[in-house]
Symmetry: C2
Subunit: 428 residues, 2 copies
Amino acid sequence: MVIRPIERGPSETLATELAAMGARARQAAGELAVASTLAKNAALIAAAAAIRASAAEILAANDRDRLEAGAGLSAALLDRLTLDAARIEAMARALEAVAALPDPIGRSIARWTQPNGLDFNRVRVPLGVIAVIYESRPNVTADAGSLCLKSGNAAILRGGSESFHSSHAIVAALHRGLAVAGLPEAAIQLVPTRDRAAVGILLGMDDAIDIVVPRGGRSLIERVSAESRIPVLKHLDGICHVYVDRAADPAKARAIVLNSKLRRTGVCGAMETLLIDRDVAADQLPGIVEDLWGGGCALRGDAAARAIDPRIEAASEADWSTEYLDAILSIRVVDGIDQAIEHIGHYGSHHTDAIVTEDAAAADRFLARVDSAIVLVNASTQFADGGEFGMGAEIGISTGKLHARGPVGVEQLTSYKYHVRGTGQVRP
Amino acid sequence: MVIRPIERGPSETLATELAAMGARARQAAGELAVASTLAKNAALIAAAAAIRASAAEILAANDRDRLEAGAGLSAALLDRLTLDAARIEAMARALEAVAALPDPIGRSIARWTQPNGLDFNRVRVPLGVIAVIYESRPNVTADAGSLCLKSGNAAILRGGSESFHSSHAIVAALHRGLAVAGLPEAAIQLVPTRDRAAVGILLGMDDAIDIVVPRGGRSLIERVSAESRIPVLKHLDGICHVYVDRAADPAKARAIVLNSKLRRTGVCGAMETLLIDRDVAADQLPGIVEDLWGGGCALRGDAAARAIDPRIEAASEADWSTEYLDAILSIRVVDGIDQAIEHIGHYGSHHTDAIVTEDAAAADRFLARVDSAIVLVNASTQFADGGEFGMGAEIGISTGKLHARGPVGVEQLTSYKYHVRGTGQVRP
């Protein structure tokens, strides 16, 4: 398969090309909105088969991407870019998992009858056209495309330039799935150029695109948020806390703190700051710290924490609002639950925070007063993930409060409309 | 009561003042989020009493507004601005009606348990701080303030400059209600200046304000949408259609068309275009037209409509996408339901559209394929109103698909968060 980037004409040419892509997406969205669950699932299952059948082409495209990227890539970027047989199989299985999810479209969210006999039914419908702008992980192409399709939305995908050929090969397989099910190819379109100007043009196409989902690092998300004329579903910082309450079970506290910090340090749900009640700090902090040292974690603490273990470095003010995404933890000893809640309100990012306590009243207070998308009692912050919520795949986690908060799965990619049925009613 | 506009300093002074207002709102929002239903309702009921008790002050403030506005106001604007005893009583009753609504906050939207024992509860929470920017109707001050309060949000209100004194007098009454219930005065704040620069500053305060709701004409909404760095819940055009299907009951069609157009012509749910199936146009259009002539409606139609009644003027292409908000109707004869759906998709504004039919399959097809917030079968488009939906008061109707679609009541002014309860679970 030969992938040919479109000719680099003047930016007007690119704008025309993208406008045509937007019009095709809008047309496809109309067809997808009324597509049957059966057709959408058939497309996803056929796409999974096509991904497996074209593994050789996808791997060759991925080789070409890595060759073109050359030696300039960091090890982390190269790892995210690289596909192998296992990752291709995982992509195919993810498509099948999305096929197995319940179809949110057409479901009644609420239904009631007014005294005048009018029957109101609030029904889930797709959003329309979703643009997903992401970095160099080629599997996002399949994940984002499949979630949009299942939720009845047309997708315009703009992948990272490093994964250009891989993404094209994956989209070709998705198109074979759409063709099997008789759904329009324009249901999933990939921007056919590496030209960075394309992103700016897409973000201005507010007639053609209903929502933009950026997936990637902070600089990408900030650029998209600043430039977009279209609503953005975004993920900002994950400055997550675990608060060990005075009524914490010590064994649970140790296990939850260790897992929240070190299971994976680079995920948004990783704990960045540990708060511990002064009443139990002297008893419980040593064991917690021992686990963390054992796991290779660097520790920075306030004076009270350092008084308990002088090997803890001094934390600076900046530490409390830093998302390390690394094996580093800041530790503060607090005067009870209200100071913990206040600290989280001041320094946190409204993402995911946990309390460890056996005191039901303390748990309720923390749940009610911590203004975060996900608030946990006696569980690891690393559960901040759509899959762990039982939502199947996720397109990301929203740190905003509008439209969707927390994990964004197929249900969060929908809107609703009202079906109102009467028998000739007019309004007095 | 003497109302003193703040001194007009340089715009930095205004920005500082508004930033302080934003900080007070954020602080109040934290208190409102955990306020009891009892306290919020007590504040609303006490505010209704205060509105009644201060009727004389409110009327005096309103007199002053009308005096300052002078002769420059149109009759329509003057009518919207003017308060009288009946309108003050209606405002008090609206506050009591909001008190009687169910409290959306803290309610569980969904709850489930995962195989690892984690209990997930998706719970409604307030959005935070809502800015409402409106024109010269002083009663919006009470409506918007009460809906924000009931939904646990702090409100920053920016009323039209013509209603400056009236709005202040109304907010003073709302503050007396808040004081009775022990809730913070900053729960409802009015921008204390007529300086138009205030709107631009507010729209940039994305740290302090979570959502902006403009209420007013198209130019206000367009300005707010263009300038805002904060998500906007907006109402654009209401180009609403009634389609009279070949299987329409003629009596229902006449009643629904007449009511949809002429009950009130200036509301967003008023019909602007009538579509009628060619098979029944010759039979049914004459009666429909007779009713409309009788009501003083101007008619503009396509050639087929004019062939049936030559008194109908010729419609131009622009008529199909015009929101008249007046006693004018465009009429098109279509070749069946699919052409009607296509017309609505092309010229409509995704607001409210109705079909008149006794054919259940046609009704289902119209409901599924017309992509509008409200789609009705055998009922007037004038039911497009939160009150008629049984939602109590509404802050407006959203024509967007994100977050809220259709009438925006207290439930639509909320977000959600996840309460996750475990017993020590860590993620494998």
